[in-house]
Amino acid sequence: MALLEVRHLTLHYRTKRGEVNAVDNVSFTLERGEALGIVGESGCGKTTLALAIMRLLPENAYLEGQIFFKERDLLALPEEEMRRVRWKGISMIFQAAMNSLDPVYRVGEQIVEAMRTHEPTISPEAARERVAELFQLVGMSPDLIDRYPHEMSGGMRQRAVIAMALASNPDVIIADEPTTALDVIVQDRILAQLDEIRKRLDMSVIYISHDVGVIAEVSDRVGVMYAGKLVEIGPTAAIFKSPHHPYTAALMSAFPRLHGEKQELLIVPGEPPNLLSPPPGCRFHPRCPYATELCQKQEPLLEPFESTHLAACWHPLLQKRETLRARAG
């Protein structure tokens, strides 16, 4: 069995204006040592999916489905045990976490405190030593332990946050837009370091990003989300070479490229749907150039095309990518 297996996960928020289906019937697996990328635009449910796995949801959230981690269903665990999973099992690097370090405490102290909260038996000295090791692991000098957050650059603070996530040696790290606010040169270094750490410690990582380029570089497999649905998932090379779902293809053709020949960018008509009242059938059909009556009426399910490459589409693209691009002109 996979290290982490999400089965038919559905999450809705009950709000005053109605029910919001933030994540709808999502299933995937994550193996030990694997890097899985989840890509999608804002509001597609990728962060909510991560919070659901961590069970860090507001009170108006309702969950269905199962999340198996090391063969135990996380949704059935009592809160006390879930806290242990959050520390030892799965840890999360939150979006913009580098800005949430406490400004009045030294960075090292904050990591020591997190460690001692979860493992009261560690002595302060041992914890401090561990923090020094972690700083080195993420490519920072241990001399920086006693700095305050404002004395560090954005890149350094983000490294400190990654060090904190690694403190307990978790099996899985969920990194939500880990480099989004950083400049490209710093981003490049941090992604390379995370990748090296993952390989060295045989950790699994779920990368969440809107940036197709970042996801292409760091992931072994990629899942594409649209309006709360996982619309395609498969090996990175296959997804990028031959995307089956028109949304995946559109996302890639809309992304401006720095290398290779200059190409016209694709315009995807319209905007993502309001999840209070998503369109019936396939949620992408109002924006899809291939949509037919079937797409308006019946929802396509995630189905395998090649053994490990799945897509949820009635009219999957097999060799149509060039046609799609031609339409962009």
């Binding site: 040169i185 992304f255 401006p256 960018l265 905007e271």
Partner: protein, 328 residues
């Protein structure tokens, strides 16, 4: 009166500088200065888009604000249609603001939440005292259609919170366009928009440029976006332009080591294609009173003793491009 210059230049910037004093203590005088923009020169031609790219804190936004005179330069000249607008004040400055506009990054923060779309877009007309209310309304409606907010009547009296990010940025573009400016500074206008929305806004800006002959200074940190939008690119590092040239030339064959590093750091959305490692040391140093040597010296992979002991290199022409490097 304004002196007409050669038709191929709309805007010429000469040795533009902006220093911000660093206040230490309440009554002490500033001893240090942040050199946000430090001796920058370039030209923008009619109907041209010049991209200003660089990392955060390199001075690109300050440069943009100086050009539309939201900030006053410490020194240097900005010639728009041959007239130096760098030190304008009072009524003359207001007159100048009629000819230029700026589009900001954040479509959520740059529109007054208590104003209707009509009030927002017609504001520049009102400030400049152009037209009656009815005339303004007709003009705003026309402009909304033009930026793709159609039918205009259904948008005129709505509020920003009712609109999506992409629609808000279209409102910001309409507001900038309403006074028929010849020059617009666009500061990261699409960086907060999603990919599928972004392309439409970029295309709109290009279409408006063709139709009305506007010039843009397009500020962005994203080289791929700059490649798509700009005719020429200027790369900024620590308040200086280090390289300037035609977009494809700069991207395909960068000359300055900083441009090379910047390009090699962009992730490639193609798993079959590798990219060279980024050859760059350290992090961006402080902008406060930089030492008199090449600004890039501390991080440069090809720096020599000469670079350390001499002033920052001037931006010089090399094979139809401009580079500020002793070793390039």
């Amino acid at each position: 009166m304004a002196v007409k210059v050669a038709a191929e230049t709309l805007l010429r910037v000469e040795n533009l500088a902006k220093l911000f004093p660093v206040q230490k203590g309440l009554f002490r005088r500033a001893r240090e200065f942040i050199h946000a923009v430090d001796g920058v020169s370039f030209e923008i031609r009619p109907q041209e888009t010049l991209g200003l790219v660089g990392e955060s804190g390199c001075g690109k936004t300050t440069t943009g604000k100086l050009l539309v005179r939201l900030l006053k330069p410490t020194s240097g000249h900005i010639y728009l249609n041959g007239k130096d607008i760098a030190q304008l004040e009072g009524r003359e400055l207001k007159q100048f603001h009629r000819t230029v506009q700026m589009i900001f990054q954040d479509p959520y923060g740059s529109l007054n939440p208590r104003h209707t779309i009509f009030q927002i877009v017609s504001e520049p007309l009102k400030v400049q005292g152009i037209g009656t209310v009815l005339e303004r309304e007709a003009r705003v409606a026309q402009m909304l259609e033009l930026v793709g907010l159609s039918p205009a009547e259904s948008f005129l009296f709505r509020y920003p919170h009712e609109l999506s990010g992409g629609q808000r940025q279209r409102v910001a573009i309409a507001r900038a366009m309403i006074i028929n400016p010849s020059f617009i500074v666009a500061d990261e206008p699409t960086s907060m928009l999603d990919v599928s929305i972004r392309t439409g806004v970029m295309k709109l800006m290009r279409d408006l440029q063709k139709e009305f002959g506007i010039s843009y200074l397009y500020i962005t940190h994203d080289l791929a976006v700059a490649r798509y939008m700009c005719d020429r690119i200027a790369v900024m590092y620590l308040g200086k332009i280090v390289e300037l040239g035609p977009t494809e030339a700069v991207i395909q064959n960068p000359l300055h080591p900083y441009t090379k590093a910047l390009i090699s750091a962009v992730p490639v959305p193609d798993p079959e294609r590798g990219r060279p490692p980024v050859a760059l040391k350290g992090e961006v140093p402080s902008l406060a009173d930089p030492p008199p040597r090449c600004r890039f010296y501390d991080r440069c992979p090809i720096a020599t003793e000469y670079c350390r002991t001499h002033d920052h290199p001037p931006l010089e022409e090399k094979a139809g491009r401009h580079v500020a490097c002793y070793e390039a």
